[in-house]
């Protein structure tokens, strides 16, 4: 009794995450390795490098309860898409995350594991990632997918580098209508490789890729032509087969960026000639999380010259050595940095594996019918919103005459309002408006990009329309 009480007193300073922080245990261990002070283990650090002060952080840690209260308090004034209708997308979209998806992605066997370097003890995540790749292939109608990149923007950068290596050319054509953050990341990734990024203009009426401009700019130097479908501004590109034809006529790779939630109703790029498909798979079960983590998807045709140049991890189906059963492991690792070092296809190591697990569960849950219904729900609701907004005087929506999937543009020039002003007044009414495009596309004037998904109710959409009507009317 008295002994246990004594131990308890000694334990006062032990940290819950550090089992050996009990002074007695430390002393035992130090004795066994022949030292008396912890600092003897740091004796080889030059004196002038040792920190002589205490870090300027809170010196003492907080209890778990205090940490919880502190963080919850900080976040308590946050407005979320569940308590404020939110019409933002542009690369990170509000969608519903089914409970099973949350449940599985919190399984600590997945959550707390490392990259599956020991496949025998990691079959669970290896098979799940293989299934992720396989389901991405079904959605996009491609044959090969890797098991994740950081996000759409970095995947575009990597895909451009991949195309340049595959074709041995150094020019990439991309649409002028592209997310500016994606364009900036593309430049950051391609500049060091000496790849030139050229922009293809758009039809002023419809926003569609200008095929004449494409014809003018595509040449023997072009490694790849890249388009997005749906485009950054939400409309569908319809002349995709013509783009593919032009690209392939010049022995150029055809790359397509997608929002995978569209693929239940929109033709998959594999059916119109894409060689490489990329996109953002965050909508497939990952919350927005203020923009990260996201999930870059990347797929390609069954072509060894493409596969050998693909960045990222790829999981393959194989068997055990005794051939007794099927099993999964990382494949084609000779492309990767830990083997190939400076000659690797990419430096990517840590990726977004858990988000891919999340997406696998999401895709398995939805199935073919679910994806069709998801696509339909989005296109119905977005077009309903577009329809209501188009009836508001002095609001021009959409800016481009085309079919829109989940995002569309609305212009406020005639109302003599800036998007900033519109959004401020929407916020006063408890609504988060669309993304302000006025700085990135000055030629579109005061235009906002609105996003509507399956989570927006008719009532919320009507609230947006009513509020906009009021705001414009006040002017």
């Amino acid at each position: 009794m008295s002994k246990s009480r004594a131990v308890k007193r000694l334990n006062k300073n032990a940290h819950p995450y550090i089992p050996n922080s009990v002074p007695e245990i430390k002393e035992e261990m130090m004795r066994e390795i022949g030292i008396t002070q912890i600092d003897q283990l740091f004796r080889d650090i030059p004196k002038r490098c040792l920190l002589k002060k205490k870090l300027n952080l809170p010196e003492h840690g907080l209890s778990e309860y205090e940490v919880r209260k502190h963080v919850e308090n900080l976040l308590s004034n946050t407005k979320t898409c569940s308590n404020m209708p939110l019409f933002l997308g542009a690369g990170c979209w509000p969608h519903y995350v089914p409970a099973v998806v949350e449940e599985i992605s919190r399984r600590s066997e997945f959550l707390t594991s490392y990259t599956p370097y020991q496949p025998e003890i990691s079959q669970g995540i290896l098979q799940t990632l293989f299934e992720y790749q396989s389901m991405i292939c079904e959605l996009t109608a491609m044959m090969v997918a890797n098991c994740s990149m950081y996000d759409w923007a970095t995947t575009l950068g990597e895909a451009a580098r991949m195309a340049a290596r595959v074709r041995g050319k150094n020019e990439i054509l991309v649409p002028e209508i592209i997310h500016p953050e994606r364009a900036s990341t593309l430049k950051v990734y391609t500049d060091p490789a000496g790849i030139k990024v050229k922009k293809i203009g758009y039809e002023k009426e419809t926003g569609q890729l200008n095929l004449n401009d494409l014809k003018d700019k595509i040449s023997e130097k072009t490694a790849a032509v890249y388009i997005e479908n749906p485009s950054y501004l939400g409309f569908l590109e319809t002349e995709v087969e013509e783009v593919a034809k032009q690209a392939h006529a010049k022995n150029t790779l055809f790359m397509v960026g997608v929002d995978p939630t569209s693929l239940g109703v929109i033709k998959p790029p594999g059916e119109y000639g894409a060689d490489i498909v990329i996109g953002e798979a965050q909508p497939l079960g990952s919350p927005m999380n203020f923009g990260g983590p996201l999930l870059g998807l990347m797929a390609c045709r069954d072509d060894m010259t493409l596969i050998r140049q693909m960045p990222g991890r790829i999981i393959g189906l194989t068997t055990t050595q005794d051939n007794s059963r099927q099993a999964f492991c990382m494949t084609m690792q000779t492309r990767e940095q830990h083997i190939r070092r400076e000659r690797a296809t990419s430096n990517i190591c840590t990726n977004e594996a858990l988000c891919a697990v999340t997406s696998a569960v999401y895709m398995a849950l939805l199935g073919p019918e679910g994806f069709r219904e998801l696509g339909e729900a989005i296109i119905y609701k977005a077009n309903y919103a577009l329809n209501l907004l188009s009836k508001i005087p002095k609001v021009k929506t959409p800016v481009f005459k085309a079919t829109h999937f989940k995002e569309f543009t609305a212009n406020f020039d005639e109302a003599d309002l800036t998007v900033k002003e519109v959004n401020k007044r929407l916020l006063e009414r408890g609504i988060q408006g669309g993304k302000d495009l006025s700085k990135e596309y000055p030629e579109l004037g005061q235009t906002g990009l609105f996003c509507v998904t399956e989570i927006h109710s008719q009532n919320e959409i009507q609230r947006l329309a009513t509020a906009l009507r009021e705001i414009v009317g006040e002017r």
């Binding site: 390795i33 404020m84 790749q133 990260g292 070092r341 199935g367 219904e373």
Partner: protein, 505 residues
């Protein structure tokens, strides 16, 4: 004896029955359908999907059970000791998971009005400052998604700095020790530099003479991990910094091994100019089977202007995102970084305090040295390089004598460890050690578990001498035995998707 679950679970495509549903979506209201009309008319023929998606059709019950079973065939830190060297597989506190699951994080959009997201902006702003203090750097950028992306940003910053000084055509070389992580040369090459490999000295540290002869007017910088991948602190770091700086280069710190230095020493004080931090290592966030992580980058004052946009500014009242940085290299990725990972790190630092971080560093080093002393005494194993100096967060043991004497290699030891319910250490890295076993217990390993681990390694080495077959055939207690990895990567048999499997059948 350990036995991993073995469900022999079919691939998801083999499960389910036609017509089953796993999830019902909110149906658009009738009024919406009426207003929008026929979708076949709305979606142009040329891009309407007419093919069915060959996804499986499963009930929610089946989906949940399938992935539940698969999770049972996976080993994580929560299962047991995961002494994977250089990966810092420490315990992932559960409170951090609870906080990261808050709707006030999950359900916010990066472009929301700043007024509505002040809390998360404050968290990120504070975290930037805490990480600056911990590393001794002037400014930290949270944007990179992973350590390797931090390295890419770091090397791009070298390039931006050279460009500003008109030296980018001249300084084309980045020096990297032969003991470095593979990401270092890969990142430097991605940023457009030529990689010059520095041989390690006989003591496993940078060979100062080799460094002196390698630096030149072509040197852009040196990438260094400290403590290095042998677990040794680079004793000559002050001189190394001087040599690199005098040659006109920048010194880059690979933060993969920062854990043992928390509150003890700072890269900034050692003369490093650019630092990346692996949040998913040092700051306890889960690895998730390979990510997501986060790889913030810290820099000296002269380089801060080149960092990606946006930065978080605070005017005394409110936090806001500042995109007005004319010298910025641009964006490393979309939005601001892996916020959900960064929030966990914030909660971790709050839980630990400066005192707790120091304790974590000290105990991680104590644990590594304790385990090293136990392992090096085992017959068949040796401790290469300096035999006297303490290691820091990890130690590298060589199984070369064992392999020479019994045919049992480091790989076989690793596989046999799985049979006993331990994750294997990193093997065959760093490349400069034959039959390397790289062991990093971290501060969250308890002594009893480390003793069991050391006893098990001793037992395996004993088996190697007495009954090598059992080691060579390991593992047998995991979900599957050894895999045919040649078949997995051979162009003829390679199967990278279920589609490909069906096509090859």
């Amino acid at each position: 004896m350990f036995r991993q679950a073995n469900w022999n679970e079919p691939v998801v495509f083999e499960l389910g029955r036609s017509g089953r549903r796993g999830h019902l979506l909110p149906n658009p209201e009738d009024e919406i359908k009426k207003v929008v009309g026929d979708l076949d008319k709305l979606i142009p023929n040329s891009i309407r999907r007419t093919s069915t998606i060959s996804l499986p059709e499963l009930s929610e019950v089946e989906v949940n059970r399938h992935y539940f079973r698969l999770s049972e065939m996976n080993y994580g830190v929560d299962s047991g000791l995961y002494p994977l060297g250089s990966c810092t597989m420490k315990y992932n506190p559960k409170i951090n998971e609870s906080l990261a699951a808050l709707p006030s994080l999950g359900m916010i959009h990066p472009y929301q009005d700043e007024e509505t997201v002040q809390g998360i902006l404050e968290i990120l702003y504070t975290l930037e400052r805490w990480l600056s203090e911990i590393t001794g750097m002037y400014e930290v950028c949270l944007q990179p998604a992973a350590g390797a992306q931090g390295e890419l940003l770091g090397t791009l910053l070298m390039h931006a700095c050279l460009k500003a000084n008109g030296q980018c055509d001249q300084r084309t070389e980045v020096l990297i020790p032969d003991s470095a992580h593979g990401t270092n040369p890969a990142s430097a090459a991605m940023a457009g530099f030529n990689v010059v490999v520095l041989p390690s000295g006989n003591d496993g540290c940078i060979d100062i003479e080799a460094l002196k002869s390698a630096v030149s007017s072509k040197t852009a910088g040196l990438m260094l991990t400290n403590p290095n991948t042998l677990g040794l602190f680079e004793k000559d770091i002050v001189e190394i910094a001087k040599i690199v700086h005098e040659a006109g280069g920048l010194l880059y710190y690979d933060g993969a091994n920062l854990n043992p230095l928390l509150g003890k020493a700072r890269p900034g004080d050692m003369g490093f100019d650019i630092v990346h931090i692996n949040i998913h290592k040092t700051f306890s966030t889960p690895h998730g089977g390979g990510g997501p992580g986060a790889g913030p980058v810290g820099v000296i004052k002269e380089l801060a202007k080149f960092l990606p946009v946006p930065t978080i500014a605070h005017d005394g009242n409110a936090y806001r995102l500042d995109y007005d940085k004319p010298n910025s290299i641009g964006k490393m990725k979309g939005f601001f970084g892996n916020t959900a990972v960064l929030l966990r790190a914030y909660a971790y630092i709050l839980t630990m305090g400066a005192e707790g971080l120091r304790e974590a560093a000290e105990v991680s080093v104590l644990n590594a040295n304790y385990l090293m002393e136990r392992l090096r005494k085992i017959k068949g194993l040796t401790l290469p390089y300096d035999s006297v100096k303490p290691r820091k967060h990890e130690c590298v043991i060589s199984a070369k004598p064992l392999r020479d004497q019994t045919g049992v290699s480091a790989l076989n030891i690793a596989k046999r460890l799985l049979d006993y319910g331990f994750h294997a250490p990193t093997v065959y890295f760093p490349l400069i050690v034959d039959e390397a076993l790289m062991v990093e217990p971290t501060e969250t390993a308890d002594r009893e578990e480390m003793d069991r681990f050391a006893d098990t390694v001793a037992k395996i080495c004993d088996e190697a001498y007495t009954n090598p077959d059992i080691v060579l055939k390991a593992p047998q207690n995991t979900a599957v035995s050894r895999l045919d990895e040649v078949k997995a990567s051979h162009p003829k048999t390679m199967t990278l998707s279920w589609r490909m499997h069906l096509a090859k059948k």
